[in-house]
Amino acid sequence: MERAVPPTVPLGQMEVFQALQRLHMTIFSQCFSPCGKFLAAGNNYGQIAIFSLSAALSSEAKEESKKPIVTFQAHDGPVYSMVSTDRHLFSAGDGEVKAWLWAEILKKGCKELWCRQPPYRTSLEVPEINALLLVPKENSLILAGGDCQLHTMDLETGAFTRALRGHTDYIHCLALRDRNPEVLSGGEDGTVRLWDLRMAKEVQTIEVYKHEVRACPPHTLFSLLPGPLLCLDLLLPSPLPSQECSRPHNGRWIGCLATDSDWMVCGGGPALTLWHLRSSTPTTIFPMWAPQKHVTFYQDLILSAGQGPCVNQWQLSGELKAQVPGSSPGLLSLSLNQQPAAPECKVGPARSCGGPGRPGVWAAQSPPSCLQVLTAAGNSCRVDVFTNLGYRAFSLSF
């Protein structure tokens, strides 16, 4: 049956190399454009691809619209982190942060606006930048990574104004508390440190691996919980007595961090744990064996992802609400696009719109053209797009 043999794609040297590159691609970072219509994704080869969400989500979406509209080489090494302001996209890789104008990118001009290197002391190896954090109140950008410091860069002048030292190993992640001018950082050394930006010093250190969750009476927590969570507290089952955060076989490192008022959730080598910051006590341990690489609050849920193909949805009580499988064997980043599909791009940072104070956003505002999606990326060349929290709609692909 010569005719029935499936046409095997003739693979030349270039095709094989490209196939292998795609196969070994890792997407480390992703970021929505200020208007919410575009998604930028950075991979381990230093490329940034821009996907058009509006095209991919439209009813007449074809296979091509799930491909990037533009791909450019941003860094020599991997693109570990990206954030976006209403005009700029910042991307960070090995030892440098670059700024790109969204308007330029969308016009397919791929010249960086500027490139800055934080002052490093070592010269043998360039430390990477694992996390970027925008501090809108003081118009600055915080960079953290391989040199165990938090560098603050003034966006007005481009100068590095201060360096916060304290971590003994490299820093994985950063999180900003939205009321106090405080920044949280989690690192390979197993600590979560709380920094006061005004005083420029460390105010609190939590060594996660040392803690365990004791069986505590629920009423002690009531006063501490934020409003919307109160109703749920009644349902909280009492945690098992003396559950340990530490999982020595996985290591101590803190891979992900998210905060919401007085609450923080962090995970990594130790188990994913919900903390009350003011009392520095863990309240819930989420029973997930695999190390988590990204966590975020979403309404009254916590979304986390890590080793394994699933996006996990947790109740605050520690119950696993759902596990939604994606297409990658391991996930490194989640991103929520909570922008309404506005005609003009004049919205602040994505984070300020979200939060637990607005329950039911997903269900209430879902017109057909809604761009409110969750995207997940990791150890593959695909970015999974979840239009509803329940299932994966499709994948964008490099």
Binding site: T8, V16, L23, H24, T26, P329
Partner: protein
């Protein structure tokens, strides 16, 4: 006439008689009849003159009597009536006489007539005789003139003149005394002489002919001798010149002979032959071209070619009709037809491509006449005998050594789209089953033969094209060489791999640290199906990188209790296309790229960053370097694994490698990159 006249007379008589004579007549007729014969005889007796006198007398008497009667009547007396009666009786007697006379006259007339007739007939007969005689005379006269006018043959013959004749002719022929006077005799003699002379000339002619024949034969013999001299001279020349030519590296004769044979090649093979020869002469002295097969068969093939094709198509139609009835014979028929369809041209072109290390790639190109495609069979011979490692079985096998020379060119499918229709007719499912026997119809072979098959066209026109062939010759030859060399290199490497030694050449030492603890313990070939079944090779299979033309191997690297399995895909296009490794580590549970980022990083370290491992050109060290790097990577992986403080006892793998940092980045990569002069490991 006489009878007519007699008839005429009678009525006359009767009329003259008048009505009163009628009654009597009927009464007297039988008397008259009875007397008739006697009357005839009577006629002869009587004298006509006297009868005439009698007649005259009777007539006078009658006249007198009439006149007396008239007289009497006119007088009218009574006695006159008796007289009249007497007279009437007398006149009646006279009338009787008259009648008799009349009859006699008639008879006489008749007799006269008869006599006249007889005489006339006699005259006629004489006249006829006379006419005949006259005719005869005339004829004879004509004959005589004809004879007189006859031209004798001898008149046409040119004779010698009389004087000459008498001078030259011998006396027994000329006989001057007789012939001088008699021109007839003279002519005869002259003719005799002529005859004599001609006989002599004929004799002479015959003699000359035989003479000529003899001379011709002689010429023939001499010619033969001369022609036999040429090859002998040639052979002497060859024997004498070949060593000289060989000595001077100028194989003119051989080339000449080849060109002679090349004329009988089918067009595609001819194109290939010409182009390969040209290329060999111009660019590549290591390429030698030869033609194999029987020229005679090729010649024989040339003529009845078209007929046989027609027959075939006819019988095809027949066959389809009888398909259902004759099952058993049909199989045989189909088999014959298949053979006929897959028949190749008796001539084939041999290319010998010599590589640097004296190994030779023998390529034999065939042309399938009925399918209009070319096939190739390959064989590799090496200068020194190779010990074939078990895992290297397929490396140099004729079936796979040239597979995928160009991407996707497996050589298992016919490149001519029209063939499929032909196959359908005779029930061939695919050419794949026949490839071992016929050779592989690679696309590049068609191109070398100048055959261009446009894709997705049911019936393309295919013409052997020189420019197509020449444009592919150089790249193809280079590819062929590279292929053979890389295969031979692999062949050698596999031998040591099977013994657990990863051969690293001195110019690649800088890629690896001096101390590598992990060891390769196993290197075996596995089947494609087994590879697909492996649980950690799913990604490669899904990416379409695990075609069935590739070669598959399984390597096992060990260090202590850790066992690293590596499934290797070796593309036929090695070493320009790198081998692909998929890893599975068995140490504290099973770790693959789906549950351990560092295993994934290790894979990408060998698969994606292979370019730095190629070593010196043409990169035949790639596979061994990849394996060596795998060993190094396993070392790094095991040594940098975080020690679980809760577990008692020392670390199984103490950290010996120098690393700047153990982990880096969000996915906590280990430092897999070796920096050569300093000897430390860093992150990529």
């Amino acid at each position: 006439m006489s009878s007519e006249s007699s008839k005429k007379r009678k009525p006359k008589v009767i009329r003259s008689d008048g009505a009163p004579a009628e009654g009597k007549r009927s009464r007297s007729d039988p008397e008259q009849e009875g007397k008739y014969y006697s009357e005839e005889a009577e006629v002869d007796l009587r004298d006509p003159g006297r009868d005439y006198e009698l007649y005259k007398y009777t007539c006078q008497e009658l006249q007198r009597l009439m006149a007396e009667i008239q007289d009497l009547k006119s007088r009218g007396g009574k006695d006159a009536a008796v007289e009249i009666e007497d007279r009437r009786i007398l006149s009646c007697v006279h009338f009787m006489t008259l009648k008799k006379l009349n009859r006699l006259a008639h008879i006489r007339l008749k007799k006269g007539r008869d006599q006249t007739h007889e005489a006339k007939q006699k005259v006629d007969a004489y006249h006829l005789q006379l006419q005949n005689l006259l005719y005869e005379v005339m004829h004879l006269q004509k004959e005589i003139t004809k004879c007189l006018e006859f031209k004798s043959k001898h008149e046409e013959i040119d004779l010698v003149s009389v004087e000459e004749f008498y001078q030259e002719a011998p006396p027994d022929i000329s006989k001057a005394e007789i012939t001088m006077g008699d021109p007839h005799q003279q002519t005869l003699a002259r003719l005799d002489w002529e005859l004599e002379q001609r006989k002599r000339l004929a004799e002479k002619y015959r003699e000359s002919l035989s003479n000529k024949e003899k001379i011709l034969k002689e010429i023939e013999v001499k010619k033969e001798y001369l022609s036999s001299l040429q090859p002998r001279l040639n052979s002497i020349m060859q024997q004498a010149s070949l060593p000289v030519q060989e000595y001077l590296f100028m194989p003119f004769d051989q080339a000449h002979k080849q060109y002679e044979t090349a004329r009988h090649l089918p067009p595609p093979l001819y194109v290939l032959f010409v182009q390969a020869t040209a290329y060999g002469q111009a660019c590549d002295k290591t390429l030698s071209v030869a033609i194999e097969g029987s020229v005679d068969e090729a010649k024989a093939l040339f003529k009845p070619h078209e007929e046989s094709q027609d027959d075939e198509s006819d019988s095809d139609a027949e066959e389809e009709q009888t398909t259902k009835r004759r099952r058993p014979t049909l199989g045989v028929q189909l088999d014959d037809k298949r053979k006929e369809m897959l028949k190749r041209h008796p001539l084939s072109v041999m290319l010998d491509l010599k590589c640097k290390d004296d190994s030779v790639l023998h390529l034999t190109f065939y042309y399938l006449m009925n399918l209009n495609i070319m096939t190739v069979k390959a064989r590799v011979t090496t200068a020194t005998e190779l010990i074939t490692p078990i895992s290297a079985g397929d490396l140099l096998s004729p079936d796979s050594v040239l597979s995928c020379l160009y991407p996707g060119d497996h050589g298992k499918k016919t490149p001519n789209p029209a063939n499929q229709y032909q196959f359908d007719k005779v029930g061939i499912l695919t050419l794949r089953d026949y490839v071992l026997d016929l050779g592989h119809p690679y696309l590049w072979v068609q191109k070398l033969g100048g055959l261009h098959f446009p894709k997705e066209q049911p019936q393309p026109t295919v013409i052997a094209d020189h420019s197509l062939s020449s444009s592919h010759m150089e790249t193809t030859m280079k590819l062929l060489k590279t292929r053979v060399q890389s295969r031979l290199a692999l062949h050698k490497q596999f031998a040591s791999l099977e013994h657990g030694i990863v051969p690293v050449t001195s110019d690649c030492h800088y890629l690896f640290p001096a101390k590598v603890v992990s060891r390769l313990v196993k290197w075996v070939t596995i089947a494609h199906e087994d590879y697909v079944e492996l649980h950690f090779t799913k990604d490669i299979v899904e990416a379409g990188l695990a075609g069935d033309t590739n070669l598959y191997y399984m390597a096992l690297v060990e260090r202590g209790t850790a066992k690293l399995q590596a499934a290797v895909v070796l593309n036929p296009g090695y070493s320009s296309i790198p081998p692909i490794f998929q890893l599975c580590l068995n140490w504290k549970g099973e770790k693959t790229n789906s549950n351990d980022d560092n295993i994934r990083a290790m894979e990408s370290e060998v698969n994606v960053c292979y370019k730095e491992l190629c070593g010196p050109r043409p990169g035949h060290q790639l596979l061994t370097n990849q394996l060596q790097r795998l060993c190094v990577l396993l070392d790094v992986y095991l040594e940098t694994e975080i020690h679980d403080d809760s577990v008692e006892g020392p670390k199984e793998f103490p950290q010996e490698k120098m690393c700047l940092r153990l982990f880096r980045g969000p996915s906590r990569m280990k430092p897999f990159k070796y920096n050569h002069p300093q000897g430390f490991f860093s992150h990529r």
